[in-house]
Symmetry: D2
Subunit: 244 residues, 4 copies
């Protein structure tokens, strides 16, 4: 495990181009802010971005083959992501590429494809205060992260969040209106590692925060492949496989 | 939880109709043998069968709505199962219907859909001896099951079995040629319970055995819905949801 | 699994005898209120009580051998529980007896003995509102339980709760002051099942509530042994164990 | 996470001093062979050893405070390990120190203390062939390890192994006589990481093998603390903890 993962930050990049208040928060796009934070936290990492409107959404096979960890932010345009590219990304994850899914990416095609559940949840947007608690204090994703992480005003996500039970439950959020949410979850799928992290609604300047950037950098280091990438495939093996 | 689940046993029913040796082992079909065992073990249960060649593969919405637990056996005809029906079954599972996937059903569309992984594995068919060990002795699926369960001659399945880490690892198999296999696995997905159980290759009279029938009956009781069925869906909730 | 478990409700029974306000809430003791609720919910169950001041704390080997599920409430007198009896209870749990640990029982000797961690947590008692959310909607312990379960005024418990990652995370609580707490947790240890459930501070009439009684009754049914009780012990087995 | 953990290898060091055949296999002790392998694999690590016969078994508070990862090999002398030192080691683990427990260390006081179960298993010693399979191919402990790892002749351990369900099941072993064993298991307890790895009976030259040394080096890197060490302790927090 090194501090130099090759990272691609993917964003649908729709809100920032069509809504002035969002553009004001994220003049370089949400992907730009995330990439900037990763570069600052991990000076040896290679960080590039890709967006929906690019050919093949910027996710060519060559690009993915050179990506150790893919970050994913999407919201209103989930249905515009091509199924063939979703399947391509899924194969890279199952082969060992890391995937970090952010906020409303819970409803992205790639996340539903890999989870197998509806990935639905409850929500409100009333400016409640969100507080994240670390329930896995030895976990590398939480290193150097304040506990609790008081996010302040944010969109409210609530349970039941219909995802498989995670390998590690890392963060749980309290919302001042009464909800809780499992806001940091890890999964192993195939040879790949997946981290879902719920903060990051477009209306709040979440990705400029130092504490959130610490979480994302930790996640990038944690999610990178541990061994050569290879898609698990069915294999027939002859009778004398190790005695011959 | 009752001992009277309503069970549908689904089988592609191909081997038995086209290969005389298989028909000799299972004159009433694999589904017939499984259903017979369930009826004998659970006298209060309602057990019906459904097969690939029936309209809608016998899995109409009405049928699934009246099914507490669906058993699934398939092998050579996975690709002939209609995607729309796979999605229908998936919705019933996520709503709370139990699902028991058997043997080569690891490569069925419904299992891959719900797991999100390749579900691939290693295999040989050399008549090795398989022995199943109970690694979760307090689990209800193992009640009354001999430990170990010496299956004798059977097809060999080997790791790596590319499925998500299970909620409960129940059985692990030893094969005389050197392989191991996680042969009994439980999953919670949405509101539904899933059990994968690997014994049951068509060339061996597995489903006539009393010990295997005990496992399947236990699985049927375990997998049935615990509460009213309902697909998890995204929900918006007003600000004053419990204080108003 | 039946609806007729044999239950012993254990309570240190100290607050009720020495503090008038607690005695007013629980005139028959906390154990009395819990037992009453279990009898009402499970008419076929056998429910008895045991308390600290009895010989052997009421937990003789004979009593435990006839107990399918032991409930445990303790707070100020954890240190007065004899270590030999703690070890006796632990052996029964590892042999298959169910255990339901309540509220401040997180610091009981039996819970620490079985968890292996400090079982420490954060707390305040400011009359915050507690709301429990069901994060495992298909789990039998949640059947018939309102979601959310709005507890209202209660003592505040907060993370980090130093327990092993649970097999199933069932409930998560929100407190109006900002904390979250994993308030319903299941564990399998040896052949036994353990459920920790955090509501139940002595100053609040928690155990008179119908929703809480539903949880406790579900837990009793869930935690009872699934097979004959037997302590896992090391065993030497001869070379020809199944071929001889 | 770095490649320079400070490691202490602890060994009861009894077989090697009293049995000539064991001394012939491990002239520098089992601890010496393990330490030699760690030094070769992790040139930047600091590796020291400690043994039972030393004052405080070589595990003073100062020594543990300077240990990132403690390896533990014991067999016949478990009962000679002082309870106070067991408790001291447990506190360091719960505070964040890594622990790697080897082979018959499954019955060490420290492992039982941290697991809470009997840690019993089945065994034979007939020179069966052991083969370890990687069931978590993306896990850092498996990086660079052959799959399968064909151990050849070794003592047989068999299920049921009475430990809590692990966080990650990493390796499963096949024995030629028919047993299986969960031979590589990870646990998070408090802030610390624990890895149990079953190969290593004193009669076989296991710890001289390159593949086994790779596993142990990976485990050392994986188990080291991710953040400052601190024992989780109960904490009272005032009402206005983040609004004041």
């Amino acid at each position: 495990m090194t501090d130099a993962p090759r990272i691609t930050v993917w964003n649908e990049n729709v809100h920032e181009r069509h809504e002035a208040p969002i553009a004001a928060i994220y003049p370089d796009g949400i992907h730009g802010a995330i990439a900037e934070g990763l570069r600052a936290s991990l000076p040896d990492a290679t960080v590039v971005t890709a967006t929906l409107e690019q050919p093949e959404h910027g996710l060519t096979d060559a690009r993915l083959a050179e990506t150790d960890v893919l970050f994913w932010w999407g919201h209103g345009a989930h249905d515009e992501v091509d199924e063939a590219i979703v399947e391509r990304v899924a194969e890279h994850v199952l082969s060992g590429m890391g995937l970090v899914v952010l906020h409303s990416g819970h409803f992205s095609r790639i996340f539903i494809r890999l989870m197998g559940t509806t990935c639905s949840l409850r929500w409100r947007d009333d400016g409640d205060r969100e507080v994240l608690w670390n329930v896995a204090p030895g976990h590398p994703i939480t290193a150097g992260v304040p506990d609790p992480l008081v996010l302040g005003e944010h969109e409210t996500y609530g349970e039941f969040f219909d995802v498989p039970p995670p390998d590690d439950l890392v963060f749980v959020s309290n919302f001042s209106g009464g909800e809780v949410f499992r806001s940091g979850l890890t999964y192993r799928r195939g040879r790949g590692r997946i981290f879902y992290f719920s903060p990051g609604d477009q209306k709040y300047p979440i990705y400029h925060r130092a504490d959130i950037r610490r979480v994302l950098a930790n996640a990038a280091v944690w999610a990178q492949p541990q061994s050569p990438r290879e898609l698990p495939t069915v294999s027939h093996r002859p009778r004398e496989w190790f005695t011959g």
